[in-house]
């Protein structure tokens, strides 16, 4: 048996789908953020795998992943700051409750 490229992509796809599911269904904003991380992670894996698959000698995919991780970190930090702030105001972090800024 050989580990073809597909074997790497399928877990990543499943992880992405889980992320989507979580993002759509969860009410808690932190849980949504977690789902988001899952999706990002899945994408990261794909970058790496395709880097290896298409340009084995080069490092584009890896660096993309690297930057994506950095961005994810930044994004998470900011999002969590907002969530905590929202929590301070409304004592809740359910996405449905944060409607003050609508309209």
């Amino acid at each position: 048996m050989e580990l073809t490229i597909l074997w790497y992509l399928i877990p990543s796809l499943l992880m992405f789908c889980c992320g989507v599911y979580g993002f759509i269904t969860r009410k808690n904003m932190i849980a949504m953020l977690i789902s988001l991380e899952l999706m990002l992670n899945a994408v990261d894996i794909n970058f790496v795998v395709f880097n290896r698959f298409l340009f084995p000698g080069e490092l584009e995919g890896m660096f993309f992943t690297l930057f994506a991780i950095a961005l994810a970190a930044a994004e998470t930090a900011l999002a969590i700051a907002i969530i905590i702030n929202v929590f301070r105001v409304s004592e809740k972090i359910d996405v449905d409750d944060v409607t003050k800024m609508k309209f």
Partner: protein, 676 residues
């Protein structure tokens, strides 16, 4: 003839209307009255001059070598040009009937102007409010009526026709704070307006097919070089008939276009002349001041219908059908109105129905006029009766006005036995009654006799019918006379002055009109007014009319009248139970007559229930709820859709993601399908 005098005849009342209407409220009442009366007097004198010139000057403008009277257009100004040939002109047409009407209108109008000086103030000499307005409207009416009779074309006639309608509206509603007067004026206007619709359509039809509005063209088309001749021989008639038959669509809804046009025009005449079934406005119009009733609703405006038919008589001659319709309508109306007049209580209503009946006489007379018979005797008789009727009916109305003014009520039940208190009124009223009853030698006898002769020549049935009506006329007039002046002694209510004859301004017109009613019958009409301008007699003297009578007819009608008077005398001279017995013997008939055969109720039903209830209200409802509702509905639907779309834009991030995702997947799927 120079147009100066005719212009003044028209312009003076118009000016007076403007002056009194605009400045009247700044004038003293007396000044306004004198001004109005004087100007009308001047108009009357000028009208007399014009008429006398027309009939007796012998100028070639007015009469040709064979002694045939001509139509003469004194002036004719373009007022409104629809097309090159269809032009409304304002002009002055002088021919026998317009000259006759000039005299009638100005005379009666002057009498009424004079009379109103007394009538329009109470016993203490306090003027009615709006006295100046009253004179302004009278002047407006006189102007309009004069304009109507001298019209050179049918559209001018229609214009003034509408104007007399409006001034009649204003005068009936003179006491505008009285609801009954307001509704009466409204009724009069709307009913005649409805009739005018027919008139208008008739004009449209006639003018479309003949290409002209001018009377002179209607009556003399086809006779080359005789444009001004008031004369249609049968070849001309044939010409017009062929002409209409050869124009496009000569047949409309089963009748010839000409028949339609003439019948529709006659409908206008029916409205103004209160022929059944459009008569209902006239009795109500008595809400106006009595002088107005005398002027407008007895002598002048209501005969406009007769005048209209007479004016277009040569055209009517071409359509036997139209003339027969006129005869039937007239005969039915005459009988109906006479029946109703027999039981009314309000003296003005009795006179009103009598007016309807008498106008119907004229209509019948026109309807039976044929050139073959006595040179179109009916036509002459109608005009003759128009003239005499105007005089004695105005007299009767003015007498009624004097009575009402003295008593303060319209009902004979409040009068009775006034002969000693008001001798002048009594005598003049009696003369009026004798005249209308047709007793020799009063005016009505001659004209009515001519009519009956004409009817006799055409149809025995209608002759008997009309003689019966004449008998009824004598009966109800004397019933009225006795109930007012005899029956029982007058009881003056406590605290009132005994009734007495009125001021000279009111009695003078009575006397003058009474004198005219006595002698008018001897005017040799046959030589003045005939349908084709040909004189009827070789030579004339004072007794021409007497000599020309058909004595067999005259004797019968005289006998009928005298019998009717005797009957009235028996029943009403002294207080007695006969009338009550009569009433209880025929209760149903009495009820129907008293309620005027329920025509008003029928009209109320049609207007309120059908027009308002079944047409207007549903339409208004439809408009508000269906048409407007559908517009609002469109707005509502738009709003709903907007709300629905707004729901998608909920701010729910998860829904957005889902939609985005589904979109992406679909795109992906499509791409995949396309690529694979």
């Amino acid at each position: 003839m120079e147009p100066v005098i005719p212009i003044i005849i028209l312009a003076l009342p118009l000016t007076m209307f403007l002056v009194l209407g605009l400045l009247g409220h700044k004038m003293a009442h007396r000044t306004a009255g004198i001004l109005g009366t004087l100007s009308m007097g001047v108009t009357m004198v000028l009208a007399y001059i014009t008429t006398l010139t027309y009939f007796f000057s012998g100028s070639s403008e007015f009469i040709n070598e064979e002694g045939v009277r001509l139509q003469s257009v004194i002036f004719n100004w373009d007022w409104l040009a629809f097309t090159d040939s269809l032009v409304i002109r304002l002009g002055f047409l002088l021919d026998p009937i317009s000259a006759l009407l000039l005299v009638v209108i100005t005379t009666i109008s002057f009498m009424v102007h004079l009379y109103s000086n007394g009538y329009m103030r109470d016993h203490h000499g306090v003027w009615e409010t709006g006295f100046q307005r009253f004179y302004a409207f009278l002047s407006l009416f006189s102007f309009s009526m004069l304009g109507l009779v001298v019209a050179t074309n049918i559209f001018q006639m229609y214009i003034f026709w509408e104007l007399v309608g409006a001034s009649s509206y204003l005068l009936i509603g003179f006491y505008y704070t009285k609801p009954s007067a307001v509704s009466a004026s409204k009724k009069a206007f709307i009913v005649t307006r409805f009739a005018d619709l027919g008139f208008l359509i008739g004009i449209l039809v006639l003018s479309f097919y003949t290409g002209t509005f001018d009377f002179t063209n209607f009556t003399s088309t086809g006779v080359e070089g005789m444009a001004n001749v008031y004369q249609v021989d049968l070849t001309t008639a044939e010409g017009i008939r062929n002409w209409i038959a050869s124009s496009p669509a000569p047949v409309f809804m089963g009748g010839s276009v000409l028949t339609w046009a003439l019948v529709l025009i006659f409908m206008g005449g029916m409205g103004k002349s209160a022929m059944m079934p459009l008569h209902i406005w006239l009795p109500d119009a008595m809400e106006g001041p009595t002088p107005v009733s005398a002027l407008i609703h007895a002598a002048t405006m209501v005969v406009a219908g007769v005048f209209l038919v007479a004016r277009l008589f040569p055209l009517y001659l071409m359509e036997e059908v139209a003339l027969n319709i006129i005869t039937v309508v007239g005969a039915l109306t005459a009988f109906y109105a006479a029946m109703v007049a027999c039981v009314q209580v309000d003296i003005k209503r009795v006179l009103a129905f009598s007016t309807i009946s008498q106008i119907a006489f004229m209509m019948v007379s026109l309807g039976v006029a044929r050139p073959e018979f006595h040179h179109g005797l009916g036509y002459m008789a109608a005009m003759f009766h128009l003239f005499t009727h105007a005089m004695f009916k105005a007299l009767l109305f003015l007498c009624a006005g004097a009575l009402i003014h003295a008593i303060g009520s319209n009902d004979y039940t409040d009068m009775h036995g006034l002969r000693k208190h008001m001798p002048v009124t009594h005598v003049t009223f009696l003369i009026g009654c004798l005249a209308i009853a047709g007793i020799i030698p009063f005016a009505g006898f001659f004209s009515k006799d001519e009519i009956l002769t004409a009817v006799f020549g055409q149809s025995i049935f209608w002759y008997i019918w009309m003689s019966a009506v004449a008998g009824l006329t004598a009966f109800y007039m004397f019933r009225l006379y006795y109930l007012i002046f005899w029956w029982k002694e007058h009881k003056t209510p406590e605290g009132h002055h005994a009734p007495h004859d009125q001021l000279w301004t009111m009695t003078l017109p009575l006397v003058i009109l009474a004198v005219v009613s006595c002698v008018a019958g001897f005017v040799p009409f046959g030589n003045l007014v005939t349908w084709n301008g040909h004189p009827m007699f070789e030579s004339v003297n004072f007794f021409t009319n007497l000599g020309a009578l058909d004595w067999s007819v005259a004797a019968i009608s005289l006998a009928v009248a005298i019998l009717a008077i005797i009957l009235a005398t028996v029943m009403y001279k002294k207080e007695n139970p006969l009338p009550a017995k009569m009433r209880s013997a025929l209760p149903r008939l009495w009820d129907w007559c008293y309620h005027r055969f329920y025509w008003d109720e029928l009209y109320m039903f049609i207007t309120h229930k059908i027009i308002f209830g079944c047409i207007s209200r549903p339409i208004a409802w439809f408009d508000r709820h269906v048409i407007d509702g559908s517009m609002d509905g469109m707005a509502w639907v738009t709003q709903r859709i907007s709300f629905a779309i707004r729901g998608l834009q909920s701010g729910n991030i998860q829904l957005y993601v889902w939609i985005y995702l589904v979109g992406v997947i679909l795109l992906g799927a499509i791409t995949a399908v396309c690529l694979l």
